[in-house]
Amino acid sequence: MKLKKLILPALSFAMALFVSGLLVAFSDSKVLALKSHPISMLSKGLSTCGAAYWALFRGSIFDPRLASGHFWEGFYPFSETLVAASPLILTGLSVALAFRAGLFNIGAQGQFIAGAIGASWVGFTFDLPIVIHSIAAIAAAMIFAGLYGGFVGFLKSRTGAHEVIVTIMLNYVAGYFLLWLLSTTAFLRPGRKDPLAPEVHNSARLLHLFGPDLRANLGFIVALVAAAAVWWLLTRSTWGFRFRAVGANAAASRTAGISVARVSTTVMFLAGALAGLGGAVQILGTEYAMTSGVGGSFGFDAITVALLGRATPIGTVFAALLFGALRAGGLTMQASTDTPLDLVLVIQALVVLFIAAPALIKSLFRLKNVDEGETISSKGWNG
């Protein structure tokens, strides 16, 4: 395929792992204690780092300890990767779509929460036949979240308020709103006081893909379908044409009769709906019950996913799989080697930094003539 295009991302990832590895090694107290013996310190550092990364791999892709029965059972951890990746694909698409129209949607976190609220509420309040219930919950999620996002686009086109500030603020608002909801009787489980919403009914849940023992579910398929839909939207439809036009040159688009205001609002609505779909998938497929932490770090992750995936649908899918693997493996890493999960954040940020500066990687590795791919840019305050 286009292997050349993968060189830079691969090298960026390698560099990120290297730098993070240094962090793991030199923050370990046992390693630090060996200050006066550089060689044993180096080997201890290597082994600490290696153990962490091996745990990462075991938790996300393949665990030899599970393969003792049937070989393919060793791939069980991959199901966790799929589970982690599904909402990432969707929130990543949300950010990527907005980027293509020249908007920076930092609000995927808040839109995700809005979607989770919608899906959760429909899921535990009503009783509908099996597939219809899921669809209704998903629809509610997408509408709530779409409105939450569309509001930002509307505000920007009417008042010029920059989406970066507004979406960041709305993320906090959504978080606190969720906290409040989980203290109201409507959203609490009967008889309990902890912030845990009722479980969604079985009729709303998304089916497991590989049997009841593995958590991978239809949400992954939904995410792939969404990615395909976004791809089609951008490359083949009139709407996508307008989005891309405004993202590339809003002034020329306006001069040719395209309404930039309408595009901003529509794109933010769709972006919100996609992130909300991510929230729905998380609730209906994985968690079943909403907690105050349902938003997780999907907001941050969505942006790093979109940046690594160069804001293209297919790139987003692969980037989400990679970062999903990091997340899934990270839990194992945290449990078995006492390495905090936040290392994954560091790796993600470094990957994106390296990948955003192709010139840096090129000079580090002395490469020439490597495909840099498209650059992603958002507009400053004036534009």
Binding site: R236, R242, S253, T255
Partner: protein, 499 residues
């Protein structure tokens, strides 16, 4: 002070902008550098002024070779420059602009503007420039802004003054005054390098002329050469300077504008109470120096201006409140002033740019889906019709030359059913061949019965193409006059002298 360039070469990737250029400017001489748009004149001067470094060649001042790596070096060597697009900071005052880079300080780094103010007033008085050192540059009219640049160069003792296309933004009267001042400067010992593509001015002021074409020096001439000779040297083939045009055959009123008033977002009036009628089959050219409201008027007709009152009728139908899209589809072709910023999307392909306005209408789209094959077929047709030089319709628009970019804009706008053509500075920055193409096309549209509203700062273009001329000054049509009005009369009108 004499200035000599030897073998100056500059490449931008595969493009050779300057190819081994030799130039000799004697002491106390006005030396004109003549060339059409894109010939490489500005690149050359940016090298002399230290904004670019050459790939080869040398610069000598008074016989001694100098190294110019930055504008500071150029200034130290006695070279000053007045740029085509002013290098002034609009939100600063005149004094702040002039001290920038050479600031005097008092105390712990605080600015001292006093001596600068005195110097400004001195030079200003010497040339009758009338500049207030504490005025904000953005409040000054364009002609005065240019004087600020000149003053800056003179205050820092420039002995060679480079003027890059200085008359593009001036009225004929201001142009005459500038040419007079140039001669005055030369007579006091300052050499002047005068970059332009305007033959008349060259003949009037230059002591010596060097012609540059496609990055190379193709010859020198004296001001006694005829305009045709100079033009042919510039372009490389015989050029007829006359535009062929049949008599106009005006039909019904196609565009009617009543009491149009436009303000900017701070409330300042840009266009004040304009009313006029335009007939099918006629070209109304709006003449006037940049900054008198032309751009805004052009945009307002299509609906691109926000703060507009008054009414606009296209073929009887009111379009004052229409969206841009509705205005365009009611039958207006709009060629914007800046093709790169407002006319085309550089990263989109030529194909996509050609359907920017019609992308969601049949036959290019069926419902929400764009038919790629139909788009491609149409693109090929139009590329042929408008003679757009490109390898493939799928190349990005930014890869095209200026002239071809403009052709893409025309191809897009003129392929719709159109009643009115609004063209804003359509030949700015184009090479002569493209200029000819655009002129021919505009006349063809007019002869097919369309109304044409042309905005141009080039008086020659206005006189050549117009059937009637409206002169715009400070946001008003100061007069609408017949096409054969003399240059002098037009100049007076452009300067605000009411008839």
């Amino acid at each position: 002070m004499s200035l000599e360039l030897r073998g100056i070469t500059k490449r931008f990737g595969a493009l050779v902008a300057n190819d081994s250029i030799d130039l000799a400017v004697a002491d106390g001489e006005i030396h004109a550098i003549l060339g059409e748009n894109g010939a490489g004149k500005s690149t050359l001067m940016n090298i002399v002024y230290g904004l670019l470094s050459p790939d080869g060649g040398s610069i000598s001042v008074d016989g001694k070779e100098v190294r110019i790596d930055s504008p500071l070096d150029a200034l130290a060597a006695g070279i000053g420059m007045v740029h085509q697009h002013f290098m002034l900071i609009p939100v600063f005052t005149v004094a702040e602009n002039i001290v920038l880079g050479h600031e005097k300080t008092k105390g712990p780094g605080l600015l001292d503007l006093e001596s600068a103010r005195k110097e400004i007033l001195r030079v200003s008085a010497e040339f009758n420039f009338d500049i207030d050192p504490d005025a904000l540059v953005e409040d000054l009219p364009v002609g005065l802004q240019q004087r600020v640049e000149i003053i800056r160069a003179l205050i820092y003792d420039a002995k060679v003054l480079i003027l890059d296309e200085p008359t593009a933004v001036l009225t004929p009267q201001e142009t005459d005054e500038l040419l007079r001042n140039m001669k005055k400067l030369r007579d006091t010992g300052t050499s002047i390098v005068f970059i332009t593509h305007k033959l008349r001015e060259v003949k009037e002021t230059a002591d010596k002329i060097t012609i540059i074409r496609r990055g190379k020096v193709v010859g020198t001439a004296s001001p006694s050469a005829s305009q045709e000779e100079l033009a042919s040297l510039m372009v490389g083939r015989p050029v007829s300077l006359d535009v062929e045009k049949k008599a106009a055959n005006p039909g019904k009123v196609m565009l009617e504008v009543k009491n149009l008033h436009i303000s900017d977002h701070t409330g300042r009036t840009l266009v004040k109470d304009i009313s006029f009628q335009l007939h099918a089959g006629e070209i109304l050219a709006v003449a006037g120096v940049q900054g008198n409201g032309q751009s805004e008027l052009a945009e307002a007709i299509v609906g691109l201006q926000e703060h507009v009152t008054g009414s606009i009728y296209l073929d009887g139908k009111e379009i004052s409140k229409s969206s841009v899209r509705d205005a365009l589809h009611s039958g207006i072709a709009f060629v914007p002033e800046s093709r790169e910023e407002d006319g085309l999307i550089g990263s989109f392909s030529i194909e996509e740019n050609l359907i920017l306005d019609l992308h969601d209408l049949s036959p290019y789209a069926k419902g929400p889906v764009i038919s790629k094959s139909i788009v491609a077929a149409e693109a090929d047709k139009r590329i042929k019709e408008f003679d757009i030089r490109t390898q493939s319709a799928k190349d990005s628009a930014s890869s095209l030359s200026g002239g071809n970019k403009q052709k893409v804009v025309l191809a897009r706008e003129l392929s719709r059913p159109v009643k009115l053509v609004v063209a804003s500075q359509p030949t700015r920055g184009l090479d002569v061949g493209s200029i000819e193409f655009v002129h021919e096309r505009i006349i063809a549209e007019r002869d097919s019965g369309r109304a044409v509203l042309l905005f141009s700062t080039e008086l020659d273009e206005v006189s050549d193409l117009a059937d009637r001329i409206a002169v715009m000054y400070r946001g008003e049509f100061i007069a609408i006059v017949p096409a054969d009005t003399s240059r002098e009369a037009l100049g007076l009108l452009m300067a605000g002298v009411k008839p």
